[in-house]
């Protein structure tokens, strides 16, 4: 367990933000931590949607239970946090 800095690029928001997470966090937990700084502040919630994580600029979503420690991120790596529609 260790603090790990990431950079959040949240769908619908306008700015990259510093996102401190823990190496034991899963991608779902990373997305939830990113949402704290965007949803309800400058981005409307989308009920029924889930949030997914991908490497910045990639189209491939990372597995939801993948841990930060196993993802091979560099400190301050930029991640896109994107909405996934129900059933998608």
């Amino acid at each position: 367990m260790a603090l790990f800095p990431l950079t959040s690029n949240f769908e619908g928001d306008f700015v990259l933000q510093l996102l401190p997470v823990d190496t034991e966090n899963t991608m779902d937990e990373v997305a939830a931590a990113a949402a704290v700084h965007s949803v309800g502040r400058r981005v409307r919630d989308r009920p029924g949607h889930i949030l997914r994580v991908r490497l910045h600029g990639s189209t491939e979503l990372l597995p939801r239970n993948l841990k930060v420690a196993d993802a091979g991120f560099r400190p301050t790596e930029t991640l896109d946090i994107v909405w996934q529609a129900p059933g998608a």
Binding site: F14, V15, L16, P20, H37, R41, H56, T76
Partner: protein, 501 residues
């Protein structure tokens, strides 16, 4: 004894040059300070400044300018303009003085480098006057706000800002250190006078003077117009230097310096001038949108100046033309949302009427920037202020030191431009910022952005309180909404009307 006409002696006096015999030319003009272009003293003697002025003429004209600006100030001191001004206008003054006044003093030292180390006698003469100009600008822009310090602590930042680690000041210092404090005399003439002053100070000083006159602040309008008359003279120092470099086969080096400085100037103005023009200035006093000013004062003027000079438009011109309609909206939203970290109180500028103006000037504003503001407005109207302030830092660019941002909402397009260099991951706000870094990585690699400093543990405690302390923002100075959220009443009333119907 009859006095000779100026033009009978000016060229001879101006081109009088050193003929070093006891030291080498490189000892008299060290290349690091005089410019490493390999041009001998004799080549620089053909430098021909377009605006010729002698010292006695300078003193006479400057005295008249000072008398004008100071007498307007004295005459209007009792008119209580500051007390009666719209809070958005006060914020314009605070942002301007803090960002500019001490930078003018710094510019005096850059002019002094050209005055001593330029091999061109004409440039040494022009920058002697330029140096005195910058001292005048520093003094005036500290003296004028000083009368308001006792009324409003934030006005103290006219003097204080430049010495702090406030994030916008880090950005301003990073830019000015790059183009004028750490460059040789010739590069200063290209990057500071030709690239920055020709276009951008015109916009800040003339554009803002127009808004100030509209807002009834004739003291400020006169002050900055008076300053601009000096700028338009000494901004011409770089042109003949560029001409000489191009004639002597140094076009590529000259072009690169222009490209680097114009981009940095653009980024700084997108955060300083953009929000002022499109959000802080009361709607009824706006002359043109920021984009319209940019198109008139920068795009048209620079395109002409560059091509007249035999230079190309910067390679990123298409990116720049696209950015002038977007970036400053993000800089405003960012500086407003992180408003406790400012030394002024930003005006939100998002009432329904103001939004209609923004939509007219920037079609699509409501579907993009407006989407973020909608959520913010709901929080304020609902009294949910905890969500109306930030709980983390925006990630800033390792070149311009400003937030990395892009278009939000329905047109979401926010991009990072990362680069790994010697094991460290750098982040940039645009392809151009990253390109500037790549031109001379060692020049920039050691600098720590405000986020890097936070991650390095230099900001303690690691929260907003620690950040404000690090930025030297004392109680009574930290920024909040200029109108104390009075604009939210309009939205409350709209909600009630909707409910009732």
């Amino acid at each position: 004894m009859a006095v000779l006409n100026r033009m009978d002696w000016y060229d001879l006096a101006r081109s009088t040059n050193w003929t070093p015999r006891y030291v080498t030319e490189d000892e008299l003009f060290p290349p690091k300070l005089s410019g490493e272009f390999g041009l001998p003293l004799s080549a620089w003697e053909s430098y021909d400044e377009p605006y010729k002025q002698t010292y006695p003429e300078y003193v006479k004209v400057q005295r008249e300018k000072d008398a004008g600006a100071y007498s307007v100030k004295a005459a209007l001191e009792r008119s209580r303009i500051f007390e009666n001004a719209d809070p958005g206008w006060k914020s314009v003054m605070k942002a301007h003085y803090g960002a500019i006044a001490r930078g003018e003093y710094a510019a005096a030292s850059a002019e002094a480098r050209m005055m001593r180390f330029s091999k061109a006698p004409g440039m040494r003469n022009m920058s002697t006057l330029g140096c005195m100009d910058e001292i005048r600008h520093g003094q005036m822009q500290l003296y004028f706000p000083h009368e308001h310090v006792s009324k409003d602590r934030q006005m103290d930042w006219a003097f204080k800002a430049y010495d702090t680690n406030e994030w916008a000041m880090i950005a301003a210092r990073h830019f000015f250190d790059d183009i004028m404090m750490t460059r040789d005399a010739i590069s200063v003439s290209i990057m500071l006078t030709f690239s920055f002053e020709t276009g951008f100070t015109n916009m800040q000083f003339l554009g803002l003077a127009a808004d100030a006159a509209e807002a009834g602040d004739h003291t400020f309008a006169n002050l900055i117009s008076s300053i601009q008359t000096d700028e338009s003279r000494h901004a011409q120092i770089g042109g003949p230097a560029l001409k000489l470099l191009i004639e002597n086969g140094h076009k590529a080096e000259a072009q690169k310096r222009v490209d680097i400085a114009v981009w940095g100037a653009w980024k700084l103005f997108s955060v300083l001038t953009g929000p002022i023009m499109d959000y802080y200035t009361p709607l009824e006093h706006r002359k043109q949108s920021f984009k319209e000013f940019m198109e008139e004062w920068i795009v048209a003027q620079f395109e002409r100046a560059l091509t007249d000079m035999g230079l190309e438009l910067p390679w990123y011109w298409d990116i720049f033309l696209k950015d002038i309609a977007q970036t400053h909206h993000g800089m405003h939203l960012g500086s407003y949302y992180w408003r406790p970290t400012l030394w002024w109180n930003p005006a939100a500028g998002i009432t329904p009427d103001e939004r209609a103006w923004l939509e007219e000037k920037y079609p699509g504003w409501n579907d993009t920037w407006g989407q973020c503001w909608d959520v913010f407005i709901d929080n304020v109207v609902d009294g949910n202020m905890a969500k109306a302030y930030p709980e983390t830092l925006p990630y800033v660019c390792n070149m311009c030191q400003l937030p990395i941002l892009g278009v939000p909402g329905k047109g979401w397009d926010v991009k990072d431009y990362p680069l790994e260099y010697k094991g460290r991951l750098y982040h940039f706000g645009s392809e151009v910022d990253r390109w500037v870094f790549e031109q001379e990585p060692e020049r920039y690699a050691g600098h720590l952005s405000i986020v890097d400093r936070f991650l390095a543990g230099m900001i303690q405690p690691m929260n907003l309180e620690g950040a404000l302390q690090y930025m030297n923002l004392a109680p009574g100075e930290i920024g909040d909404d200029a109108h104390n959220y009075a604009w939210a009443e309009i939205y409350r009333a709209l909600r009630e009307t909707r409910k009732a119907s």
